[in-house]
Assembly symmetry: C2
Homo-oligomer: 358 residues x 2
């Protein structure tokens, strides 16, 4: 059953972290009385419980970060980074990768059944903040008996969650690697998000978010949303070299159609809205809280990333520096745009490996 | 009736340039047996007919380039550039601005009635090339008794048309100003086009392009297409400064809704497809033909234009230089992205004015 010797992956696991007796109170005042989290782990937890690495996934990722479940073609999204002898070395670390609250890949989200009504939350799923995503994962670590975490590693929205961790529970994450992350989306970022949401909600099959009860999904809108978003994940050069003028249309069609099969439209709305709202340094107490935990922070950005590029990482670093915190920032050359965090541009994996050993 | 003293605008005019006896044979083999062109003129044609400036509009522009037709709030799209004492000086030049074949603003296009069937061409409108757009405007100038043209001035697709003019009738355009133009879209450009087309054709109200017969328009898809395209017309900095994180969503909604009221979906499909196909320098004879006409060419690009930026202009200039033609190229600083060609970044209007006087 072990898909790779030494990886230590068994199967995707599930844990209940909120119940009617111990509900999850959300930042905006909403309450969730049942929250289940899907997660995977790799490697072995040390007896001293001091070798934990938390992997935080991006907008449309999931708990399946490494290895495979029987089909070697379906390896985890960060399989190149996690494993025996890899930068997140499962010979040494116990890696936990949980799926996000609000998503649709095993953790409670809009497509989950609301126990109060017996039907999917759908559009009634409460609005979330990044802090709510983090709250669920903090409960998961509590549930697993894990206190301090050696390091958190995340790309894009994954990095944003780790930043929030640092302020919400100073000291618990001893190190954080924020890859292609941001602390504040630009108007352009939000513009693309809003077009994606328009495509989804204007689809006649959206039915105000109650599409599940109509036995349909807003496939047309979700496909358009993903096709557009995908362009923003790749650099112009990357699109040219990989697909070219003749191949790009078919490639985007394929991307859009594959996405519709695996992702829920209401989840996409909830998660993009929380991305758009994220602006933690607007409160000066945020940077001060992070600094009080004295974490080691490594920010990595990629020069061709026009979604959350170097200016975004620099903003995070400058804000933390202003609070007296030392943060390392590396801009790496990579032709692949925002998606570089999933690939292996020169120097990237070495930076992560060295930092985790520090 | 004169909206501005000296502008010489009377009203939008119309001319028939193809008839069953004198049909328009298209590049791809299609035939149009009735083509009408909407155009405006400004200034006075000199007795020697040697003071003509042809203004070529962009993808969603129209013949109404300057002045107004009674409502001062509805000035032409290049009103800042055209008029008495302006860079395209109507005290000196006779300016002709015709609407595009395939469009929907007065010149024959998919929404025009096909005389052969008595119903709109709709999706049966033939596929076009830039050369077909130019062929119609060449016929218009013939019709107006205009031979040589002092200068053509166009931005974006307008500039692309002028480039085609230079090869299709070498010598007729004595000067060309290509602003924020391209001779070859990138994979990224085509990617955005293809998402826009997907949004339109997937709208259930599209009805395979026969929406007019159903009494509807694919408004949802066309709105999404325009919202997305609009982001690509403006720089990230421009969006930040003009609208900001809080204003961008409402602004894009407004842009999308206004566009649906004035533009036809089938026209958008035909025109974006011809943009995507344009690649004239793939044929070495093209550059040689342009050079044989020995035109003076001025290319202008804007540093924040991430649609048809400086690399696009440089490609045109390099191709023409390789054919022995001298071309001036200026990259101007402007924070407004591709839309800069409609605005007035420092130095831009002066370059155009000087070049037209040369």
């Amino acid at each position: 059953m072990s898909p790779r010797p030494g990886l230590g992956l068994v199967a995707t696991q599930h844990a209940v972290v909120a119940t009617p007796e111990h509900p999850l109170r959300l930042t905006d005042g909403g309450v969730l009385r049942h929250v289940e989290v899907a997660f995977e782990t790799y490697g072995e937890l040390a007896a001293a419980r001091d070798n934990v690495v938390l992997v935080a996934h991006a907008l449309t990722g999931d708990a399946h970060a490494a290895g495979h479940h029987g089909d070697p073609a379906r390896r985890g999204w960060w399989d190149n980074l996690i494993g025996p002898g890899r930068p997140i070395d499962t010979d040494r670390f116990f890696v936990v990768c949980p799926n996000l609250l609000g998503g649709c890949r095993g953790t409670t989200g809009p497509s989950s059944v609301d126990p109060a009504t017996g039907r999917p939350h759908g559009p009634d799923f409460p609005e979330l903040h990044v802090a709510d995503l983090v709250a669920v994962h903090r409960r998961l670590l509590d549930h697993l008996g894990i206190g301090a975490v050696h390091a958190g590693v995340g790309g894009s929205l994954g990095g944003m969650q780790l930043l929030q961790w640092l302020a919400d529970e100073p000291g618990r994450l001893q190190r954080a690697v924020l890859v292609a992350a941001t602390a504040r989306l630009t108007a352009e970022n939000i513009g693309f998000s809003s077009v994606a949401r328009e495509a989804i909600t204007a689809d006649p099959d959206f039915h105000g978010g109650r599409y599940a009860e109509h036995g349909v999904v807003p496939a047309r809108g979700l496909k358009v949303a993903r096709m557009m978003a995908h362009i923003t994940y790749v650099s112009a050069q990357g699109l040219e070299e990989k697909y070219g003028r003749d191949g790009i249309e078919g490639y985007l069609q394929h991307q859009g159609e594959a996405f519709v099969r695996r992702f829920d439209a209401n989840s996409y709305l909830v998660l993009t809205r929380l991305l758009d709202r994220f602006d933690p340094f607007a409160d000066p107490a945020f940077a001060a809280a992070v600094a009080s935990g004295d974490p080691r922070v490594l920010a990595i950005s990629f020069d061709s990333d026009w979604r959350f590029g170097t200016a975004h990482s620099r903003f995070v670093v400058d804000e933390l520096a202003a609070a007296g915190q030392e943060v390392a920032h590396h801009e790496l050359a990579s032709p692949w745009g925002h998606d570089s965090f999933l690939l292996r541009p020169p120097g990237y994996h070495e930076l992560v490996a060295d930092f985790l050993r520090s």
